[in-house]
């Protein structure tokens, strides 16, 4: 299998035959980006259709977070073109929710859950956000934290704080949702609940893109898997691209180690490379 020519796995992701022919929610064409002189992403091309749940998979340093930061407009591409909902990332922001990997607040920052979630309703030109209080309550209910508005953020558990940050992204009623390792550090039930929520959000027609290490989760409930290792190793339906040699190419020895531990069951050679 010609795994070294990554273009053979690229191109439009084929969904179920009855999927409506909609324009892509996210289009990335020949993107190269990085920090200072360090190249984090090289010639990445991706098309993500609306209403899909996409997992970005790859080892640490493979560019997953960088790709999300480019998609939300926090990082300018060095070259290539990025379109989110047909707009430049910065212009698409009102329709995009972003959940960063770690939040920068000091450990005892005096801020309530409601205030954190309301941050998602910010508008630079003071356009009023109608029904902010109701929207905050609804977003919290969505992540299973109804009634937590008045709690101080730093008194919540790590998993609860993570869900508050997801509520902050949801309060904007985003068409596109970008999450950076939302399940890291969560216990199994919380992780399952979160994956179910993401599935639900995608089924409502939102485009959800998740950087994650959770191979099993992506294989079982995601529509698209993107194997990233600075370049796109493969992209497509999880059962088409999460094959042994592509995973090996994306993860290298890191994944071999996991094979040995028997914690992931990855199918080898399905013969359906594209």
């Amino acid at each position: 299998m010609a795994a070294d020519s990554e273009t053979s796995y690229l191109g439009r992701v084929e969904l179920a035959a009855n999927a409506p022919p909609l324009a892509d929610a996210i289009t990335v064409t020949d993107l190269t980006a990085g920090y200072d002189s360090h190249v984090a992403l090289e010639r990445v091309t991706l098309h993500i259709p609306p209403g899909t749940l996409t997992g970005l998979l790859g080892p640490n340093g493979s560019g997953k977070s960088t790709l999300l930061r480019v998609l939300i407009g926090l990082l300018e591409p060095w070259s290539g073109e990025v379109r989110v909902l047909g707009r430049r990332p910065v212009d698409a922001r009102p329709y995009v929710g972003y959940v960063p990997q770690v939040h920068g607040g000091a450990p005892r920052f005096p801020i309530t859950v409601a205030e954190v979630v309301a941050m998602g309703t910010y508008h630079r030109w003071r356009v009023p956000f109608r029904g902010r209080r109701g929207a905050v309550a609804a977003a919290l209910e969505r992540v299973g934290l109804a009634g937590y508005e008045g709690r101080l953020l730093h008194t919540l558990s790590g998993g609860q704080q993570r869900r508050v940050l997801i509520a902050r992204a949801l309060v904007r009623d985003p068409q596109v949702l970008l999450l950076d390792e939302p399940t890291a550090g969560l216990d199994a039930p919380s992780e399952a609940a979160l994956l179910a929520l993401l599935r639900e959000l995608a089924d409502e027609g939102r485009t959800v893109v998740v950087a994650t290490h959770d191979l099993a989760g992506v294989r079982d409930s995601f529509d698209i898997a993107v194997l990233l290792n600075r370049r796109v190793v493969a992209a497509g339906r999880p059962d088409h691209v999460m094959l042994g040699e592509m995973l090996d190419e994306a993860f290298g020895r890191e994944l071999l180690h996991l094979h040995d531990a028997g914690r992931h069951h990855v199918r080898h050679h399905g013969g359906e490379g594209r």
Partner: protein, 283 residues
Amino acid sequence: MIDWLTEPWTFEFMRRALLAGVLVAIASSLVGAFVVVRGLSFLTDAVAHSSLAGAAVAFAAGGGPTAISAGAVAAAVASAVGVATLTRRLQLREDTAIALVFAALFAFAILVMSSVRNYTLELNAFIVGNILGVTGAELALMAVLTLLVAAVVTVFYRELLYAAYDPEAAAAVGVPVTAAQTGLLVLVALAAVIAFRLVGVVLVMAMVVAPAAAGVRFARSVRGAMGIGAVTALAATVAGLYLSYYGNVAAGPAIVMAVLAIAGALWAADAWRRRRWTPGKDS
């Protein structure tokens, strides 16, 4: 007893000192709450010291008290913007940039002062504070600056809060984070200039940091921390002025001692409360 309480305020200079203290309490707690949550205490100290450079130049050029204050404002703002620029452009750590700017401007201030033969009371007032000698014109300048600080913090509260709390997520929702962070440094500069007439350059940090730190400890929001900080600073100003009047000691250090005593008492009470509540945690 009533006489004992009212006697100090029969003097014009004491009433002016109190008014100055009120302005300092408001400005320093509005800015101090952000200083504490962002960990910018060292910056506050540096900016206060840097402002001396502008004051020294204005003094050497023969300027009066208002010109000296204006020079201090200019140097303080320049140092704050300088720190922001060095941090971004040269990608220095913020504390490194602060140290460089602080050293450069403070050394320059001493240099200028040493060249002036009749280095006297006027500049001395900036170093250790001279609230009892505050003039009407200085009071007016302090009031204008305090109003400016209050207006900016009120209008841009969300920007300042979000940029301080989570810059990455703030930028993602469109908060102009760089402008908010630079703006906060300028606010720190203004608060330092407002406060140093009261307690002097050396002790400005105490007025900006201590009341706000007590506030942050107890408040459920940055806004609440500002309120608690302002009340703490006001109480300390009044207590410090009494101490100064009846103990016949310098007002600035007396106010700072009072601030630290009140803040210390609040922390002790909080620690005691937490120890008792430990078993139930935060339920």
